[in-house]
Structure formats: structure tokens, C-alpha cells
Amino acid sequence: MIKKEEKLGIYVCHCGGNISDYVDTDKVAEIIGKEPGVHISKAFMFMCSDAGQNMITDDIKAEGLTHVIVASCSPNLHHMTFQKVVSEAGINPYTYRHVNLREQVSWVHTDDEEAATEKSIRLIRGAIAAVVKLRDLSAIQKNMIGAGGIIGGGIAGLNAALDIANHGIPVHLIERTSILGGQTLNLDKLYPTEVSAHKFVDDLIERVNANKYIFVYLNTEVVNTTGTIGDFTLQLQTNGKETQEIHVGTLTIATGFDNYIPMKGEYGYGESEHVITLPDLILTLNSYKAEKLVINGKEISSVGMIHCVGSRQIDEIHQIREGAKLNTNCSKICCTAALQQAVRLKQMFPYLKIVDFYRDIRTYGEKEIYLDQVAKAKVTLVKFGDEEIPQVEIGEKLKISTIDELTYGIRVQAKVDLIVLVTAIVPREKPAIVEDLSLAIGENGFLAEAHVKLQPIESPVDGIFYAGTAQGPKDVKECAMSAAATSAKAVMLLKKDIVEIIPFIAEVNTELCDGNGDCITQCEYHAITLVDDCDTGKKVACVTAELCVSCGACIPACSKKAITLIGYDTNDILGEVRAMIKEVDM
């Protein structure tokens, strides 16, 4: 129902023909102009132009419009543009409504102008029903502590710390082990530049230690985290006993990965001391000086490498540990690492014969050079199929056999002295913060971002970012890139004194609430608690605004319908839905 004092302004955009070529925009404006409460209804060439925006401003001021609807392109393009226009002209921006006539009408119904015109009218009618229900809102404001927190002192954490500190913002860098550098310290040279990993990390650590804005905590675990964007409280425990509390405005989680440890008997692992993993081989070679390769007392003249150990697992093909989940993911970086080590072996011990058993080679981008290098180094490559994983027999020599897909399915066999298993990158055991702040874990066991494309380094919880391999397999360059991205996001927040939170949060009608707590059990974010109502003394649900992520899971849980999501009242949405299918007199 439209109230008498409401004056709506409706603006239908031609979008230079993108809409008006397929929708009769003048007719839409004419018919909508007859709707109750509509004071102005106009069609215009480009609503987003200065002329279009000025027209809205002038109409609001001259005619005293109470609500504005612009029907144009997707709100993802211009919702905020028009929110700003109405706000500057004196209308609360949260009462503005946008209708998508381009991406969701004219461009998908180019063959039926009459039906597209009718649909446009219906969608605007829905928006009219919705807009009059919207109420004035203000963003929730919260003080921002101007210091960042980073959990994990590996390559991502170090880079993230420097990127924030270089803006003159204090950073607390928390590392659970006694040294900074993480797993990069276990490497030899970094591909594709072949720079020494140790030198690279040492340079970073030197810069971190020299930066007066970075505070490093070694041998320190975050045992408890509370708070929200602007003020997270971290309980730190150092050396397993001393505790202290720090406060930060944002948090970057850079807790890294683990290497997959094969099961006993998996490709002979644990049954022969000459079946080792790729990380073991790299560590062995890092300190190796002799001219002949001797491993566990045996002179090695031939090596077989097997890829995808613990990665890209297939049900009923790969065995997994009891209670474990299949790791169907590609670990992405291990093909390049394996080929790099094959080249390294040939450079250190030119007499070695190396056979590399792979499923698919994924040396993407610039890493492709290693494929050329192994070919030049005369490493034999054997491609096995998804369901023909290599079989290993332990004996004086280690026998690897499979079907080679490159030679049209010929069964091949290699007898070697050493087998190197190219093992997967797997998620590290969940840090306590994941539970404390209800962060999402993806299907692959790594931390899940808010949106894979639109928010790739943000967690669903405001103010928390993911850097490096805590989010999934990445090489050193990719870790540094994600660290830089998280720091850019963090700095944008940390430079502010006040952070604004969108006010679309759950709201409790305490008169209707009977305090049965059903909404609390549905909230995965611990945003709702029971409190004593000041007026009546009864127990009622109370929403902590900063913890509410606006998912709405609590709404249907309430049999009293005492809880709503501000801006998304389900009754109002139903009103919009009903208005869209009222008959149209064309």
C-alpha cells in the first residue's frame, strides 16, 4: 500500500538503444506513470550521464520526491552511482531501488519487444512495491585499530607484513616455530629464476627485522581470537606458557600447507628406505657435496620419479587413510618442482638415469622451460593413465611398471635404485582461529574465500584475509602476489579511523521474541545471544551487529517471526513478487 505522502520518481533509461531498441521505454514510462504513488515517470537516453543524474537531483529538490527508482543496466554497474545521487539530494541512500532492464530484459529478449516491454513494467511494479517498504538506514560505524595482525611467518606472511608496514602501519607477525621463512627454507633454488631460496628468504627476513613497524613473535601460537573487523583480540602463547593479548584491526591468515606423507606401502613407501618423497630428496641434495649419489648407504645410478602421489585421487583407484577424504585436487606446483629436481640431479650427477612417471604435466606459464630442460637432459618421460597408476615392487632393484600412454599403451617397466614420490600439497591442521571466527573450509580442506572470483583473498568475515598456501597450493611467486593483494585490502581499512559496516543485519522484534533460542542454533557465526530485555525482564534474542554476516539463516528458524534481516524482509519481498505478476493493461 502506497501512503499518500509518498512521491515516487521513476526513471527509465534507453541506454543509448541497448534497452530502447528492444523495449518500448516510452510506453513503460507512460504506463508506470499511472501507478499509485508515482509522481514522476520519465524515459531518458542515458540516466548515468551528468544530464541524467542532474535530472534526478533537480526533480528530488523541485518535486519533493520521497523515493527514486532507476530502471537501466545491472545494479552491479550503477546502483552505487544513483545511491550517491539521491543521497546528495537528501534521500537516504538505502531507500534507493534499481531495476535491471538491460542484462535481464532487453539483452535476453531481443526478439519480442512486446513481451520485453511488459516484463519491464512488471519488474518496475515489483520495485515500487519494495521501495516503499525500505526504511532509512545508516552504515554501522566502528573504530578501527590501526595495526594489522598476520598469522604465519612464511613467504606469504613476510611479504604481507612488509607490504603493510611500508605504509607506516604497525604489524604483529606471529610465527609458531622458532624461525621465520616457513617451508621455503627447505627448498634449494626458486623457479623460474633459479635464485637461491635461502638468500631470497634471508633478504626478506632482514628487511622485516629492520622495519620498525613490524613486531615479530616467534614460538608463538594464537590460542584464542575474538572480536570483529576494527578490533580483533588475539590471545598469544609463547613457548607453550607465557601469554599476552594483542589487538589488531585486520587479520591476515598465512598459515601455510603440509606435504603429504604417503601411507606405508604406498608405492613402497616405508617398506624400502630407497623410496623417498620429493621434499626428502630436496633436503638431501641441499647439503650434498660428494661426486657420487649415495642414499641410505646405497650408490644410486638410476632414479624413478612418480607424480601425483596424494593428489588427484580417484575413488576405488587410490587408497587413502582410514577416515581421510579423497584429495581430488591437483597440487599444481609439484610437476615443476619434480622436473626442476630431475634437472638438478642430472647437473650434479650426469651419469644418473632418470625415468619420470607422470599423469599430466602441469608446468604452466613460464615454468614450461623445465619441460624443455628435462628433454635436453635426456630424462625419460612416461605418461600413465588415470586408472593405471604405476605399480612398485621392492627388491634389490626397485621395479616400477605401468602402461605408457605415449607409446599407445605399451606396458613399460623401469628397474631403479631410488624412487622419488612427488607428493601433494595438503591443508595444514586447522588453526584455532578457524573455529574461533567460524571461517569456512572449502571442499578441498583449505580455507575458502568469500568468492572465488570477486573476493578471491577475502574471508566471508569482514577484516580477515587469506595469503599464501593456507588457501590452496601456490608457488613462491603466487604466495607473494596473494600477500600483496591482502595487504592492499588491509591497508585500505587500517588507514581509516572508522570502518563502516553495511547495516543489513538480523534484527529482533523483542515484543514477539519468546526467547526460545531457535535462531541461536541456526547462527554459525555466534552473532546471536539471549539477553534480559530491559523493559520486560524476559529473555530475548540479541544480535551482535559486527558478527552478523547477513546470511539470514536465523530468519526461518523463528516460529514467532520475531527476527528479520534489515533490507530483506521476507514479507516485503513477497509483496514485490506478488506485484510483479499483477495483470498489465498494455
Binding site: 542484462e103 531481443t110 568468492h451 572470483k453 546470511c551 539463516a553 530468519i555 534481516l565 521476507t570
Partner: protein, 138 residues
């Protein structure tokens, strides 16, 4: 769909994070689907209770296509909650004489334009075929 077939009225429920941009993407690719489709935008369809869906049918919609984020939802556990709820909605629909194929819960990502249009067309056909009252032009 030819002129003699009734075009069912479909409500498409989308999400901010995934399917609304996905439906936009269908527009950017100029893909076509039925004009009797009306899209609403939510943060997550978990917000709607069983009664809400029933009211939508009572309002005159022939089908509800829920384009959720699926397991890619930025919110913990919501897809599982919706899945369970839709099972109850279907039971209630049957009591009203509606067919289970008149509601569909699916996942549409930001660039799932082709998948979305293919699936929506199939859904529209299914609804037209199975809905209790078919109106055929004379």
C-alpha cells in the same frame, strides 16, 4: 516454445555473490530465455521459510527456480539448510496438487550463463508439462 504452448510464470531467486552476476552474464552474452521469468535478488535464499515458497505459488507463479551459490556459498552451511527445506516444500506442494518439478534448487556461478539458460529452459518446459493446469490457446 510455440504460440500454442502456455508459458509458465517462473520466479528466479538469485544470490548477490553468485547467481545474480551469473544471470547478468547470460544477458551480456545475449542468450535468450522465456520472458515470463522474474528475478529477485537475495543475499542467500536460506532466508525464506517453507510458507514463503507456498505463498509464491499461491500468488500465481507456476515455478520457482532457486539459483543458489550451492556449496560455493560464502555463508557456512546455508546450502545444506536450503536443501532440507526444499524437501519439506515439495511435500507441502504435493498436498496442494502441485508437481515436484515445479521447484528446482540449483547452483549458478557468476559465469555459468550457458548452464543457467540451458537449465532454465529445461525447467520451464518441465513446469509447463507437469503443472496441474495447462492453458492451451484455442
Amino acid at each position: 516454445m510455440n504460440n500454442n504452448e502456455y508459458e509458465p510464470r517462473i520466479l528466479i531467486i538469485t544470490t548477490d555473490a553468485c547467481s545474480y552476476p551469473g544471470v547478468d552474464n547470460a544477458g551480456q552474452k545475449h542468450l535468450h530465455y522465456s520472458t515470463k521469468t522474474y528475478t529477485i535478488r537475495t543475499l542467500d535464499p536460506v532466508i525464506f521459510d517453507v510458507d514463503w515458497y507456498i505463498e509464491v505459488f499461491k500468488a500465481g507463479y507456476d515455478g520457482i527456480y532457486i539459483a543458489s551459490c550451492g556449496t560455493d556459498s560464502p555463508y557456512i552451511g546455508t546450502f545444506e539448510k536450503i536443501s532440507k527445506r526444499i524437501e519439506i516444500v515439495i511435500k507441502e506442494m504435493k498436498k496442494m496438487g502441485l508437481h515436484f518439478s515445479q521447484i528446482k534448487l540449483t547452483a549458478v556461478c557468476t559465469v555459468c550463463a550457458d548452464h543457467f539458460v540451458r537449465e532454465l529452459k529445461a525447467f520451464t518446459k518441465d513446469v509447463a508439462k507437469n503443472m496441474p493446469v495447462k492453458v492451451i490457446a484455442q
